[in-house]
Structure formats: C-alpha cells, structure tokens
Amino acid sequence: EAVLAPKTSCGSLCHHHQLFINFQDLGWHKWIIAPKGFMANYCHGDCPFSMTTSLNSSNYAFMQALMHAVDPEIPQAVCIPTKLSPISMLYQDNDDNVILRHYEDMVVDECGC
C-alpha cells in the first residue's frame, strides 16, 4: 500500500518557470537583429506520487514515484520539458553577413514528470 506522500505546497511541484533573457542586458543587441530576447523557460519542482496521476506525467514517472514512496532510496521521478518549440535568430557576423538560423526544441512550453 503506497505511503501517502507528505502534503507539499503547490509552488514546489514540478511546473514550467518563465524566464525572459533580454539580449540588451548581455550587450548582444549590437549584433542580434531579431528577436530582442530569448524565452529561457525551465522546468523545476517535485514529482511526488500524489501528483503523477494528475499532471501530464508518463507511466514511467508514475511507477518511479510509487517505488520512491515505498523505498525512499529510489529517487523521485524528475521534472522535464514535455513540449518544446523552435526559435529563429537573425544576426550579423564578423564579415557583416546577415544570417538567419532556425533552431528546433529551444523554448520550453510545458513540463511534466
């Protein structure tokens, strides 16, 4: 029988944290034409057993949380990105060439255990 995980406050549960990096703060606005900044979102928070049935968690996370509840030696399931989106960057290099590059899986949109 699973040991009920101690009640944890919602804030410490696994979720998506927004973080916007303004290229001007780094002095990169002098060579990056667009965008003006970058959404460096990240995933952070606990994945206790009680949560794995509610959040968009994988079956593996459910089993690992169950195992952790039974034997705390087994680490908890981890909080990772479950939905990512690409970005494009328009910048100028040292030869004054204008470059446009697409990068996939750069921005974290959703997190899960």
């Binding site: 002098k30 989106s85 690409p86 494009s88 040292n94 004054d96 204008v98 470059i99 697409h102």
Partner: protein, 232 residues
Amino acid sequence: QTFQFQEHVFLQFLGLDKVPSPQKFQPVPSVLKKIFRDQEAAATSGDSQDLCYIKDLGTRGNILRLLLDQGLFLYSEKLPQASSCLQKQLYFNLSAIQDKEQLTMAQLGLDLGPNTYYKQGPELELALSLVQEPHVWGQSIPKPGKMLVLQSVPWPQGVVHFNLLDVAKDWNSNPQKNLGLLLEILVKGTRDWGVNFQLQDTCARLRQSLHASLLVVSLNPEQCHPSSRRRR
C-alpha cells in the same frame, strides 16, 4: 569568467568564434524578414512546422546567409569595347560555412538600382564569368574563365538573380578555387543613343548603385534529419 565561458559556448552554438561587432546593421532583405516573421508566428501559435524547409525559397535548409560582395571595381585604360560600362570583380567569403553543412541554394543578387535613374532606359548586357587564375598585379583585369551568364537586361530594375549553386559547392569544397567572379556590364545600342556623355552618366550611376550579394542556404544534418519519407 563564467559569463565569458557561457558566452563562448553560446557563440559556438551559433557557429561563431567570437562576438561580432558590426559597425552598422546591414539592410535585411525582405525575403529574410518574411521567413523570420513566419517562423516566429508559427512557433508562437504552436503550429508544427518543418524547420528544415524554407517554403519561400522552395528549398531545404535551416541556415540562411546573405554574404556581401567583397570584390573591387576594375579600371582599365582601354575598355575592351566602346560600349563597356563597368567591370567588377565579385568575391564572396564562404569560410563561415561549416564542413558538416550541405549547400542547398546559392543565389547571386545584382541590384542595379531603381530604374528611375535612367531617363531613357538603355539596354544593358550582363556578362558574368568565373575568375580561374589569380589576379596578377599590373594586369588591369583578371583573365576571365568559364562564362556563366550572358544576359540582356532590357530595363535595369531592382535585383537580377542568378543561380550559382554548382559554383558555390565547388568553392565550398575547394576554397582555393574561390577567386571570385568577373562581372562586365555593356550598354547595348549606344550607336543610336546620342552623345557619349549619357553613356558616361549611366555608367557612373550604375557604378554607384550596383550592390551584389550571395544568398546561401545550407542544411545542418545534426539539426535537420533527412526529410522523413511521407508515410503511404
């Protein structure tokens, strides 16, 4: 210290070896702006998209570079033909293209300036050839090699495009072969064109407004897996 290191890693990720310090921003061609805006809109709306296909150019690729011409105008006392208007060496530095990238497009753009310059539009003839021998100092113009383009431009307007993918691929795999191109612009039909000074005036304006650039599209196989075959 740490920031310097992180910055270096980020620059490498962008394919740069040091922080660029441009004097001024180059004008961004409308096609790049459109591709960028469409890409941003798709990412924001969450539409799935093929990052490695450039719809507006109809080619695969995820890195677009607009390379500026670094060649010089050539002046020779005796112009090869009375109607020769200008001669210019065009040179594009491809060294920023990494070995693992596959070239999928190389489009030369010659901006001859708006046709409002020309009251009575002359007929121009563009001759573009490869420079295959190093330029010998003292020699007025490099010896032209293989002719790539010989084309009339009935009314100079905006940008004229030429596909140079095979040439760029050759230069990219053999950088020492990249000696640039020789561009010659002749004015046709000068006979019935009245006095000479109009020819001079047109050539001076052409020299002033000519702007050459090479749009190179490449595919980084580490970021772009071969296009998955459509499931039947």
